[in-house]
Each structure stands twice: as structure tokens, then as C-alpha cells.
């Protein structure tokens, strides 16, 4: 294992202290229980957004804390859900009297821990709603699985809901918007290489030099199928095809196209992927009205990418364009 760390056990607190050192003007980092929140929290009268999940997906979620996006983020150990005590402390720290929305990715651990945290917060008379994001079309949503995983649409939901919360919309309205993003957003990812969890010290899975994994999750968990390496054009067809179908995209639809790096894939390759995606969608008469390209929801050093499409309407477009000022995403502010 070659990593720029001091000690595998200290990866999360060391990185959090680094975030405090770099971004202390916009966010506060709390250690034990670990959480990050806006430096000006709680913002009175505003619905507060709290998200969280395992570490290793940076900049998600800590890098999305700030005006226009999250009020707090709870980082777990690498690829491990955070715990209810973290979520409770974060929820209390950011509650400005208008209620708190928990944005939860659909992974069993995240869901169970956020459920316990919401129970605890309600016992302290804080109004909490939770929305579970499950946008990954690689997973069959059936009675026989834990359901679709929450991946790329989480970033988009955090941005859109952050915009709505700044407009002082109610908890119910912000939660409904979150469900709307989840209903109109779909994703699929792929990996060219595995990744190494620092505490494990070895690759999570083996992938041959000439192989790639289609439908990978964001934790290096194996995906849907393993196939031979193929040109970017074919990879985009395999990822975007099921998304377009699942969203029933029609000629004339506007979408936000999010091409994400899993951590190890450089921007030059993401632009190749984006170009192929643009061609594929143009061929079907679908217009890319907005885009986001870069590493935003990563899987440590894994090489690979994911594609997320969000069907846009005027409201979602306006809230996407609203000012945001976080370490990971900044515009208009």
C-alpha cells in the first residue's frame, strides 16, 4: 500500500483537521464525535441539511458544507457509515428552529444509523425528516435486494435542496424537492481499477489489466458484470443506455449531465466521456442544459467514472444555478 498518510487509524481525523486548517473561515470541524458544520451555524429560521456517510468519497460530503448546500456533514471511517451520536450532535448544532433534513444514501448501514439518529433527535424535540437517495440503475430494485444504492444524485440533491433552504422554504417543501431530485436522477458507474481501504491495506477486489467492472458502487464493492476493456464510446453506451431508459427520456427533454471521476481518472478522460455522452444524448434529441464534470463523489484512488443524468424543469434549473459557496462547489456567490 502506497498512500500519503501518517497512520491508517488516523486517516479520518488527520484529514478533518486538514479541512479545518484549509477552510476554517467557512466551516467548523468537530472531533469525537466527528462532524463538520457551517461556521455560522445554526442559521435561524432556515431548514438545515445534514448528510453523511463513510469517508473516502471526498469532496462528498464534508466538502459540500457551506452556504447554498449542506449545514453539516458526518464522516464515518473510510467506507463505513457514521454513527447516530455524530448525526445527533450535528443535527443539534445546525437546527435553526425550522427543522432538519437528513439526506441519506441508500446503504443499509447509513439508513440504520440515520434512523436511530432521527429517533434520538425527535426525543429532543427537533423536527427531522429523512430522504433516502437511491439512484443507481446498476442495482435491480426488488424485494430481494437492499434496493438501489445512493450515488451521484446525492450531490445534485444536496445542491438543489441547499438552494431551496436558503430561500427559507419549509422542511416539507425541501424534503419534497429532495424526493423530486431522487425521482428524476439516475446513475451508473464503472471501475478500471480497485481501491485500497487504508485499514485493510490491500485492494478490495482484483481486476485484471484488460478488464473493467460495470455497475460498480462507490465502495469498491463488485458491480453488475465484468467485461473486457472497451473504448469510451462503448462504456458510455453501457452506462447511459440504462439511465436514459429508466428515466424514459424523450426528445426535447433537458438534463443535467454529471460525469464524475471515481478518484483516479483524470479530467482529460472525463471530457472524452462527456463528449461521447453528449453525442449519445443528441442522437435521441435530449439536450444537456447543465453539466458537472470532475471528482465529486469518489471511491478513494479507484480509476473509473460514473454518469448521472437529472431531468430538469425550471425549478430544478433555477435552484441548481443558485449561489453556492463550499470547498467543493462554488459559483454565483
Amino acid at each position: 500500500m502506497k498512500k500519503l498518510i501518517n497512520n491508517p487509524e488516523d486517516v479520518v481525523p488527520d484529514a478533518l483537521q486538514g479541512m479545518q486548517a484549509a477552510h476554517g473561515d467557512v466551516l467548523r470541524v468537530m472531533i469525537d464525535p466527528h462532524y463538520l458544520c457551517r461556521a455560522d451555524a445554526p442559521v435561524q429560521g432556515k431548514v438545515a441539511l445534514v448528510s453523511g456517510g463513510g469517508s473516502g468519497h471526498e469532496p462528498m460530503h464534508g466538502g459540500f458544507v457551506g452556504p447554498g448546500m449542506l449545514d453539516a456533514a458526518c464522516p464515518g471511517e473510510v467506507f463505513t457509515s457514521p454513527t447516530p451520536d455524530q448525526m445527533l450532535e450535528a443535527t443539534k448544532a445546525v437546527d435553526g428552529g425550522a427543522g432538519v433534513l437528513h439526506i441519506v444514501k441508500n446503504y443499509t448501514g447509513d439508513v440504520l444509523n440515520f434512523e436511530m439518529a432521527a429517533d434520538l433527535a425527535r426525543e429532543e424535540n427537533i423536527e427531522v425528516e429523512a430522504v433516502v437517495i437511491d439512484d443507481d440503475v446498476a442495482v435491480q430494485d426488488s424485494l430481494y435486494t437492499a434496493g438501489r444504492r445512493g450515488v451521484g444524485a446525492t450531490v445534485l440533491a444536496e445542491k438543489v435542496c441547499g438552494g431551496a433552504a436558503e430561500e427559507k422554504r419549509s422542511l416539507k417543501e425541501v424534503a419534497d424537492l429532495c424526493r423530486k431530485v431522487n425521482g428524476n436522477g439516475r446513475s451508473m458507474g464503472m471501475a478500471l481499477t480497485s481501491c485500497i481501504v487504508p485499514a485493510a491495506g490491500a485492494p478490495t477486489f482484483d481486476l485484471g489489466e484488460d478488464e473493467m467492472e460495470i455497475g460498480i458502487g462507490i465502495h469498491g464493492e463488485p458491480g453488475r458484470e465484468r467485461i473486457s476493456l472497451a473504448p469510451a464510446r462503448e462504456v458510455v453506451e453501457r452506462l447511459a443506455g440504462p439511465i436514459v431508459e429508466d428515466l424514459s427520456l424523450q426528445q426535447g427533454d433537458n438534463v443535467l449531465a454529471f460525469v464524475n471521476s471515481m478518484g483516479g481518472t483524470p479530467l482529460i478522460e472525463l471530457y472524452i466521456v462527456f463528449n461521447e455522452l453528449k453525442k449519445l444524448l443528441s442522437g435521441r434529441g435530449v439536450n444537456i442544459a447543465r453539466n458537472l464534470i470532475g471528482p465529486y463523489i469518489t471511491s478513494l484512488e479507484m480509476a473509473g467514472c460514473s454518469i448521472t443524468l437529472l431531468k430538469l424543469d425550471d425549478e430544478l434549473t433555477r435552484l441548481w444555478d443558485a449561489p453556492v459557496s463550499t470547498p467543493g462547489l462554488t459559483w454565483g456567490a
Partner: protein, 214 residues
């Protein structure tokens, strides 16, 4: 001879040691179908739980187990935190105020703990989870105790049932948790949660066998 407070502490410690010894094995089972963190997470959680038990001695078994559950919830993370945490918290609630346990107290408490796991995780038998080891163990324990066996003998039966349930997860398609994303590719792998749950039962029967021998 009834089970004392110290025996319960010895059980938690024995399980913590078993986790320590099997940390790499549990992580290896998890990396085949999950995210390679079960061994590490359980070790972190139970190390903290043992430390808490040592720092605050007492004689209320219910309170001690509840404290173990709370520590696990805040230290394990993943799905294991809420599930093992709920197990101990529910056992603790069922044993509130007790400083000695008879065989039927154990059976009642274990059943309450396992019901808690089932409610929190919303899983059934044969979905390749902890419950595949725990549900048969509860069943065997209740039957043995009901038939008048000693607790030592009943726990041996429960451990055998847990081991059988753990091995029975190998041919199953996982239907809960991260392994369920693999569908048929989860067949042929022993569930890591069922494995740690078997170790939990084994720790109980080992501790009571040692007590009887001494």
C-alpha cells in the same frame, strides 16, 4: 449455579477476544461480498465496550449490557453498529436490575435481543444475515431450557445451531445489506455477520463451560 455479573462481563470479553483473533478472517469474508470492514469495525467497537465495562464495574447485568449496546452503536458504524448495539440494548432492557440469571432469563433475554435485531434490520431467515445464526440459536436454547437442560448444555446446543445456520448461508443468495447487490454472485460465500454471530454464541458457551469446570 446461576450466572453472575462477572460471567456476563467474561462473555463480552471472550467475544471481544474472538473478534480480535478472527479480525482478518471476518474482513476477508466481507471483502468477498461486501466492503471489507466487518472485522475492523467489530474489533474497534468491542474494544471500546470492554474498556467501558472495566471502567464502570457494578452488579446490574441489565445496565451493563445496555451500556455495551450504547458503546457499540457509537463505535462500530456500518450496519453492524445498530444491529449489534440493538442486540445488547434489548438484552439489557430484558434483564434490567438483575444481578443473577437463571437459564430461562438467558433464553428470554437472548430472544429479546434477536427480536431487536430483526426489527431494526427488517430481515428474515435465509436472507444471508446475522439472523441465520441467531434465530436457530434462540430456538435451540429455548427448546433445551424448556426440556429442563442446564444452561451450559443449552448453550452448547445453541452454539451448534448457530454454526449450522452460519454454514447454511454459503449457498444462499444474499437479500439484505451490501451483499444483496451481487445477486447470484453472493452464492458460495459465508455471511460475515452470521459468522460473528456464531462467535458470539460460542463465546457464551465457552465461558460457561470454563465456569463449570473451575
Amino acid at each position: 449455579m446461576p450466572v453472575q455479573y462477572d460471567d456476563v462481563v467474561a462473555w463480552v470479553k471472550a467475544f471481544a477476544s474472538a473478534i480480535e483473533e478472527n479480525k482478518a478472517y471476518l474482513t476477508q469474508l466481507d471483502s468477498a461480498i461486501g466492503d471489507a470492514d466487518h472485522g475492523t469495525n467489530m474489533q474497534r467497537g468491542f474494544q471500546a465496550a470492554v474498556q467501558k465495562l472495566e471502567e464502570s464495574p457494578g452488579d446490574d447485568i441489565g445496565a451493563a449490557l445496555k451500556g455495551v449496546g450504547m458503546t457499540l452503536v457509537s463505535k462500530i458504524g456500518g450496519a453492524g453498529g445498530p444491529l449489534y448495539g440493538t442486540f445488547f440494548m434489548q438484552m439489557g432492557t430484558a434483564l434490567a436490575g438483575k444481578s443473577e440469571l437463571e437459564a430461562d432469563d438467558w433464553a428470554t433475554a437472548l430472544e429479546a435481543g434477536v427480536e431487536g435485531v430483526q426489527t431494526r434490520g427488517k430481515a428474515e431467515l435465509e436472507e444471508a444475515t446475522m439472523l441465520d445464526a441467531l434465530l436457530p440459536a434462540v430456538q435451540a436454547l429455548k427448546e433445551s431450557v424448556g426440556a429442563g437442560s442446564s444452561l451450559e448444555a443449552a448453550l452448547v446446543k445453541a452454539t451448534e445451531a448457530a454454526q449450522g445456520g452460519m454454514k447454511a448461508t454459503i449457498p444462499l443468495i444474499a437479500r439484505k445489506g451490501r451483499a444483496s447487490y451481487l445477486g447470484e454472485r453472493s452464492v458460495g460465500h459465508q455471511d460475515p455477520g452470521a459468522t460473528s454471530s456464531y462467535l458470539l454464541m460460542k463465546a457464551a458457551s465457552d465461558v460457561l463451560a470454563t465456569k463449570k469446570a473451575s
